[in-house]
Amino acid sequence: MKKMSKTRLIVCLAAVLLIYVGAWFAEKSAGTNSMLVTVLKKGAVYALIAVSMNLLNGFTGLFSLGQAGFMLVGAYVYAVFTIPLKRHAAVYQYYNGGIIQFELPLLVALILAGLVAAGLAALVGLPVLRLKSDYLAIATLGFAEIIRAVVQWDSLGPVTNGSNLLKTYPTFSSTKILGSTVLFPFIVSGVCIGLILLIINSTYGRAFKAIRDDEVAAEAMGINLFHHKELAFVISCFFAGIGGALLAMFQGTVQANSFKSAMTYDILLMVVIGGMGSVSGSVIASFLYIACSEWWLRFLDNEQFIGSFQVPLLRSGFRMVVFSIVIMVVVLFFRRGIMGDRELWNLRLPKKKKGKEGLK
């Protein structure tokens, strides 16, 4: 890719700034508890997670399904280290107040969440990344399940609180910026996505794409396959960890049981809808996905009357059915997703013809 011209860069930064102002203004006018603000916050969190998954699946061609496990690690690290000391007795009521008797500042805990997830990814990656395509997918899925079981293990209770909830740690309402709760997740995930973009456009990013397009050719060009795969895996999991911590902040409580493989599938579908290999696509798709599932399609879950005519089929659960049919339509008929592998800022470039995608 050619270097972006200066004017383009400025336009992009201005657009980002405009989004931030818009989000801030939306919260001010709609109120902190409105659906719009909830969607914005959750969308921002998922945008980061989806982009981190896209880095692996879309840009490096490694089909990993372990995202939920690394998010869980991030969420737990964040929650464990930021629960205020005086609340420990109440949260760890079955484990005598737990054994971690200190708390970290919020930002430190957030970065630590990413680092621990990345460290674990480095260990997991050593054996797992030798596998290919669907074997890699199923092995990473397995690792996520193992992590979930270990975290819920009773003997680790003094640290992880076993299978009980972690709560009372700082959430988005305690990180107000300019009196608004929505700016913190926007800024954190904005910065992280910016970093991912820089990585993608660096030599490493180009090496990742080369591996995706043809492993054998990439190796022949002198790219150390294992080294780069491991690097992509660790980076992706670092940001997944931060994303998990943000998700914990959004939810207000964390429980290992909610980080099931279904969560990974949700994120994968976001990536697919946005377009494998498009950062802006993932961001747009995650906001759309969250807005549809949380907000716009809500009406499908309630019985509706037009005059005295009851609209058939509408009842609890119908929203998800419609939603999954839409997803299937996208997967089957619009395989390139919203953006394909292009980005918002170079939409006008001609579509590249693709020989083969990620997996052979």
């Binding site: 699946n57 089909f63 054996p127 797992v128 030798r130 596998l131 395509s133 669907d134 074997y135 997918a137 199923i138 092995a139 899925l141 397995g142 690792f143 399940e145 193992i146 979930r148 079981a149 270990v150 819920q152 293990w153 009773d154 054998v216 493989s261 279904a262 599938y265 994968l268 579908l269 697919v272 494998m276 009842r315 609890s316 659960g317 119908f318 998800m320 059915v321 939603f323 999954s324 049919i325 997803i327 299937m328 997967v331 089957l332 008929f333 395989r335 083969k356 995608e357 990620g358 997996l359 052979k360």
Partner: protein, 292 residues
Amino acid sequence: MFDRILPYLLAGISVGGQYALIAVGYTMVYGILRLINFAHGDIFTAAGFFMVYLTASLPMSVSIPLVIILTVILGFTVERVAYKPLRTAPRMSVMISAIGASYLMQNLMWYVTGGLAKQYPVLPWLGDTVQIGSASTKIVTIVTPILTILLVIALVTLIQKTKIGMAMRAVSHDFEISQLMGIRINSVISVTFIIGSALAAVGSMLFFTNYSTVTPTVGAMPGLKAFVAAVFGGIGSIPGAVIGAFIIGIAENLIRAAGYTAFSDAFTFALLIVVLLFRPTGLFGEKTAEKV
């Protein structure tokens, strides 16, 4: 000591048989399409729900065959709708489509049932209790391994001796060449899905006789474990899948007996990873050379 372990061992053999019936579906589909059929676990769950709803109005002797037929139709439809349009697409797309199909079926089942757990009907005879040594168990525990082995023998004969079996072997060996040899790929694939779904339906009858409630997501875990069993035995190999399933079923229950219930799921995946690392082709898998 043995008295304490015996009930777990029996449960293990029984669960192993049920996993085996699901695993055969995975391994056959993988052998032919090189696709992890993520929707297979949900087909298994759907078979459970068919039974719940059919027995509400029909006698058992009609509903049992009807359940198998409906499950087969479902499996066939999933293949036609979700996988057939992607025949020439990259493998990752097909796998994503499988995940999407699984997601759709789970949500559909949630919608139809209202998300409540349904009581599975008690199948006559199978649900009776019987005494073995010091352990009392349901008859299904003993029937499962026997029935499993009989079905698998029948299946292996089908694959080795009949024309359609030969076609299946050819397709799994080389997709494109067999097409050139005049094998109708689509009908072979359909037959594969039909057999896999029918076995899943039988497996679900045996499974839910033991577990008695059906929820929309109940099939996800047995589905994944059956897949692990298929990989463990060497994906594409039917006897391998069956042996892998029995080993996993028994090992999982022995871990429960040892008091580490929380780790029984994790163990299965740990086993998967170890197998993939040290013997990626599984116990009985064929070695394939990587072509550049």
